[in-house]
Symmetry: D2
Subunit: 116 residues, 4 copies
């Protein structure tokens, strides 16, 4: 089960099965899930709280940090996919459409190396 061989629907189904096996759909309303994404995002952010940017770029060299960060990122994705499940949002379509929109908003030749 790697990113090369897993389709997005498989990931969503794995999350849905975990939730349903515990009858947790009742807690997974959109408001709670949006909060949960933000909470896990903050736990992810905590690993970089006091680092300057170049040091944060080398965090991949620390197996222990990477292990923790992988887990926090998984938590973010888990709640994000559960929200997609609850609201029946196709995330591949949503992501694709957002990239198309951002392509128009930030033309590559004009925003090369600058973000505003």
């Amino acid at each position: 089960m790697t990113d090369q061989t897993t389709n997005v629907a498989d990931l969503r189904r794995a999350v849905a099965e975990f939730v349903d096996a515990r009858d947790w759909r009742q807690f997974h309303n959109p408001k709670n899930l949006a909060m949960s994404i933000a909470i896990e995002a903050a736990e992810l952010m905590e690993h970089f709280q006091w680092l300057d940017l170049p040091v944060s770029g080398r965090i991949g060299e620390s197996p222990r940090d990477i292990g923790d960060i992988r887990e926090e990122l998984a938590d973010v994705l888990c709640y994000a996919l559960s929200l997609a499940n609850v609201l029946e949002i196709d995330v591949s379509t949503a992501l694709h459409e957002k990239l198309v929109k951002n392509n128009a908003k930030y033309p590559a030749e004009r925003f090369r190396g600058r973000f505003k």
Copy 2:
């Protein structure tokens, strides 16, 4: 390009191409990306700020709200996948391993309908 037919590596590649076409890798260090996930998560959360939980559960009935929420969710995923790209984290494996760990931590029969 739907969740049924898109594998996770395809989504990651689409994000990487958007970033690279603008030479934005220089801004996409892990610290900035973790902040960006949290910022987008908060924008997502804003749609539910004052709603009570049952009302938040019916937000899917409002096409306009759903349109905005889809975009915010896409933004969260976009930065999450960019972080995975930068740190070379396989998100399918990470998510799978986290579910295995949570399965052990929250046995289904014991946590049915309760979260603690």
Copy 3:
């Protein structure tokens, strides 16, 4: 030292002394402090993650929860005041001006019992 007898400058000074005694001003740049406020805000939010709104309203009845929440709120304020120190923002003036602005934006008679 209670809210009745403490002025805001006293609180700010207590935070500044804590930071300076450790020579932590070097870490307390505005970007790190903004992240830190968000991290502590998420820890505060975690106490309400799965609660419905009426239950969250009765959390004051649980001395243990209130003890934890007091600490998280103190952390939010600590970093918020440190940011005010670093950027030399007078928070009483800033808060007062924001209330004046919001008074104009949300006239009391029109927004009574509704937020939009």
Copy 4:
């Protein structure tokens, strides 16, 4: 009304009057307020999203940025004080106690110039 001449109870009262004039106490339950603090904290953070740390340290030189940041910081404080109002938390005491606790956890001589 400056930090030198304003006591914390005055600030809290100004926030309570704003809320009560609109009959908004019904929305200001602890869960919604904790979300609101996090949302405003993210808006504050957005001003530093792509800046490196030294640049973020010079943001005080830009009157326009500072104006926006003052407002976001005021929003954070506004919700933080409203939460204190709802939960009847004395923030001066809470902050003072947290600093005492952190003084024990991070002895100044041992943590000078380092945060772990």
